[in-house]
Symmetry: C3
Subunit: 441 residues, 3 copies
């Protein structure tokens, strides 16, 4: 029941190592970038790959063609080269179809995306389901482009292939499951791409070290939306039956304060556990469910309504760097990511320890004094740690008062206002003293 955070070496440094290797890869919802990214992450999380063929029906969707990217740039009338994906893979609109030819600037403009209000940023744009090509560039660069004839070179291909996702499972003694879901489908974006999979990988390592796990844990690396829909085409029935709590892991790399976006239910175990962990930590922002955002909109769709929330730092759409080239290594902090691993692991600890407790004594408060759970001299004015002692006695009394065969650890923390950590501490002391017993649900 009790386990410590046993981190293998300096997590922040190790996260940075993997970040640097994953950063330059051009990922999309399919293709070689995803395979190479998952191979690298497999050094930490040995995932099993699930493959879905181009054209396969998944619920209301169809698996798209696989996107192959070789080269892309355009040459201005003055001979200068622009939007070369060798420089930044955001320059090419995701899923751009191949195109080679000369176009006038007025026509090229129809294919260019920039952000006038963020003139330094290259926007991140995709067109998965409508065949099109396009380039993304900073508005400052856009403004320098002269009129005239441009030479466009996009060497891509859309081929019959497959969509790949990766899943790792850590079994526990119970059939009940906890799901962590992240996505790998954006090219070089830091917070809104790599932070999720990286935090999840190192969370996997910690969960793997828990002795006698209760829950079975699933870790999913998927393409946002279509990948997760593919996954659910295999797992929906099972998750509906067994899922106790799940979390979409994204935006976990910036140094901002934590945010919890509730599941559609709002009061599921996922919600209660995440909120109590963040409450104990200090300030956090609680956001009721809304059906945009990441894959929680699939897990919490009308037909599923699974207990899946999302514990993030600064939420997508809430920071100006989101979905632009400014969401890069400068924007994130590896210390913050290591802290995100810790917070998620605390959620795991709360879930693993969320037992129901009952009194063993027939009636009334047990005698704490004879068991060393209470100072036997009342009003000990000369005691050194008066306040600490009172807090301890408070926690003991609350825990015993709430150990009624119905309250679990989380509801105790909510009712008493006490920290989970304090309740865990006194639960161990009270169990050793024989005044309470654990009820396995």
């Amino acid at each position: 029941m009790s386990f410590k955070i046993n981190m293998n070496g300096n997590i922040a440094k190790r996260i940075e190592h993997y970040f640097d290797r994953l950063w330059p890869i051009t990922r999309s919802i399919t293709g070689d970038g995803i395979r190479r990214s998952m191979d690298i992450l497999a050094e930490v999380v040995p995932t099993e790959r699930m493959r879905f063929k181009t054209g396969q029906k998944v619920f209301d969707w169809q698996v798209p063609k696989e996107w192959v990217i070789r080269e892309a740039y355009f040459i201005a009338p003055d001979g200068t080269r622009h939007c070369d994906i060798q420089k930044n893979n955001l320059h090419l609109m995701g899923y751009s179809i191949p195109f080679n030819g000369k176009v006038d600037f007025s026509e090229l403009k129809e294919h260019l995306y920039s952000l006038p209000d963020k003139p330094d940023a290259i926007p991140y744009v995709t067109s998965y389901y409508k065949p099109a090509w396009g380039f993304c560039l900073s508005h400052n660069e856009f403004k320098t482009l002269p009129d005239g004839e441009y030479e466009v070179h996009i060497d891509t291909e859309l081929i019959d292939g497959q969509l790949e996702i990766g899943e790792a499972v850590l079994p526990g003694s119970s059939k009940k499951e906890i799901l962590f879901s992240s996505y790998l489908c954006h090219p070089s974006l830091a917070n809104n791409e790599l932070s999720g999979p990286l935090v999840m990988a190192f969370l996997y390592e910690l969960v793997n070290n828990i002795p006698d796990r209760r829950f079975t844990y699933r870790f999913l690396f998927s393409a946002e939306s279509i990948g997760t829909i593919c996954y659910l085409s295999k797992r929906a029935r099972q998750l509906k039956k067994n899922l106790a709590a799940g979390y979409v892991m994204t935006c976990l790399g910036d140094a901002g304060s934590f945010t919890y976006k509730e599941s559609r239910r709002g009061d599921s175990l996922a919600d209660l556990a995440a909120r109590v962990v963040l409450r104990d930590r200090g300030y956090f922002k609680n956001v009721p469910f809304f059906p945009r955002g990441s894959d929680e909109k699939q897990y919490c769709s009308a037909q599923l309504n699974l207990p899946v929330g999302s514990l993030m730092r600064t939420m997508y759409d809430e920071y100006p760097e989101y979905h632009t080239s400014l969401d890069n290594k400068d924007f994130i902090s590896f210390e913050a990511m290591a802290e995100s691993v810790k917070v998620y692991f605390n959620v795991v600890r709360v879930l693993e320890n969320n037992y129901i407790w009952d009194n063993t004594v027939e009636c009334c408060v047990p005698m704490l004094g004879k068991r060393g759970l209470f100072s036997s001299v009342s009003n000990a004015s000369n005691a050194l740690n008066m306040q600490e002692q009172e807090e301890f006695t408070d926690a003991i009394l609350w825990f015993i008062n709430l150990a009624d065969g119905q309250n679990d650890l989380i509801s105790m923390a909510i009712r008493s206002g006490l920290k989970i950590e304090k309740l865990l501490e006194v639960s161990r002391l009270c169990e050793q003293a024989g005044v309470v017993k654990r009820i396995d649900k």
Copy 2:
């Protein structure tokens, strides 16, 4: 399911036309004034009359005698005539018994009603059940009355007759009913008498034009309290069984903001529909149920507890002109009354469209792009109506997310915070796209 407000000509002008004809009539809870008023309104709403004979028992009450008024005034010692009902029918206390004779001022004073704190206003006073006579006059006029002998002339009669109320029914496909209840029993009062029946008459016209109505609609013109008690002696059983929502229509003519007084239940369909319509419109005042006021105190009596609220503008007792001669044509606005018709008709639209929706897709969010429900280019920075488009996508996603076979339109509007109008729009698009289906409760 979809219907537009199709107003016949300029409603405000038409309301004013009927107002001017109804204004001078001396109405009370019984008598000729009521009959003439209902005959005029029958040009818009063809009501069936229900008649209750004097002396008839209705629950704990008895139908009173019919009141006949011919002439009333008194002559001061200086020969001046006062309180002539030819000038203002508020001058005679309602249900005054006949009296002819000379009285000293000290005795007359016992029969005079004025408002010292509103010295220009003639108060509206009645004595239905205690035989008495009296005159109402402005305090300014009262102060001019000299001592001396007065000649009082009240040519009224209380005869065995009947109490008449009018009901119009517009049938729908369902047995479930919606009730609109107004009263006709005050003499020349504008907001607290004529606004209710007039708004109801023109609401009737609009409801009559709805093709394929779901609900059956009842429109009641009644005398406040005793008339409605008579009505309930006929309809209580049926309303208990079939009433889905009802509203007491009164105080709908001033230019103040809207007020909703909740039914005794507080969360009935009547309450939910009215509140969501007013919420979407902007500011309104919500008032919990209290057992005074108008006929909601009958509909929401302990034994009935019907889902009947009252959607008003400025509520009775909340404006100083209430129950005085200052509640006249100057106080009200015919534009405001036309707007009241529209607001009530929006309540009808919400009720008619309050279906439960379900997804047709087995699992996950349907693919919106291939159905034109979603922009396929993400982050379309150069899109003209970025915000509008986002709001539209939001509405689509909320609607589909909540279409779980349990939520109806109103609960969707409450949960999502979206306007009913927006949800109706996307419900039509999603139904056409085949991703949702309507469930008829």
Copy 3:
């Protein structure tokens, strides 16, 4: 159903009389002090004594030895005598074991208790379950003690004896019970010892005078914690079955405003009745349950969860005089204590009158006018007590509206916002008028 507060003479004076006799007695959880105190209180409340032998097991506890105190003091090197219990019985730590001998000041200090931040106060300290001796003194006195050898004289004894508690029962027509629980176990402390038993004694007198009581009332004089645990070893089963509401009576003697500490349930009849009485009175402080404090922690232990709250004035721990010699006659007010009796008796009145009411009329609001429950002239501008009359009509209408066979008096008071007193008044009038009937639950 209706009963008045019929106080025998001047309660405040009578309380003071008993206070003065009880004050000097050296009480503890066992021993002669308790017996003498209960004998004195028996002049007002004839309790039956329940006795528990030393060594007897009660749930997780054991009845302690009986403590006999004869003399205690110590003599300083300069010959001055200190901490003589003849002067103040707080000087000796409760349950001090006997000790006679010479000790150096450095050793004596280990046995001395004072409060540096309240230098004038002698603290109240006990050591019931860990054998020890000690003296309590003001910090000012402590600072005058010189170094050197001290002669300590503690003539106490711990003998096989018994723990005594007293219970008085006033039967009613129903099996349902109301419990009042107070404690007698502190030596000369005023608010946090004598106020509880004294208020309870005079409450007993008032309850005894209620003709046709519905509830059965139990009044308990007990030692805090161990005494109440003994009591529950006899009564827990019965209380679980029959207890409708209970209150721990303590801290009822100061002139501060009232406090209500909720039962663990928070919405039990005990909570509702106490809160509505205090609400009607004006300002009060509501405190959610917490498992410290007085005997509510036993009654509301996890295994019992009885409907027991605590209606106090200023709560223990919330006033600086608490558990010191400053909690004395100067600190309390006998007028305040008499007021506490009255407030508790109002709780009794609410409980006794908490009937469910129903309408006798089949439908709609009954005709109030013909029964004198309503002014028959509306808008009676010249009426003297316009506002009073409106409040009266409001109360009548609320009462009749809520008399639906489900609401009891307390829920009527909560829903309507009307005072219990006003509802009681109109309930009597409406019952006499025959429009409502009482339903005995």
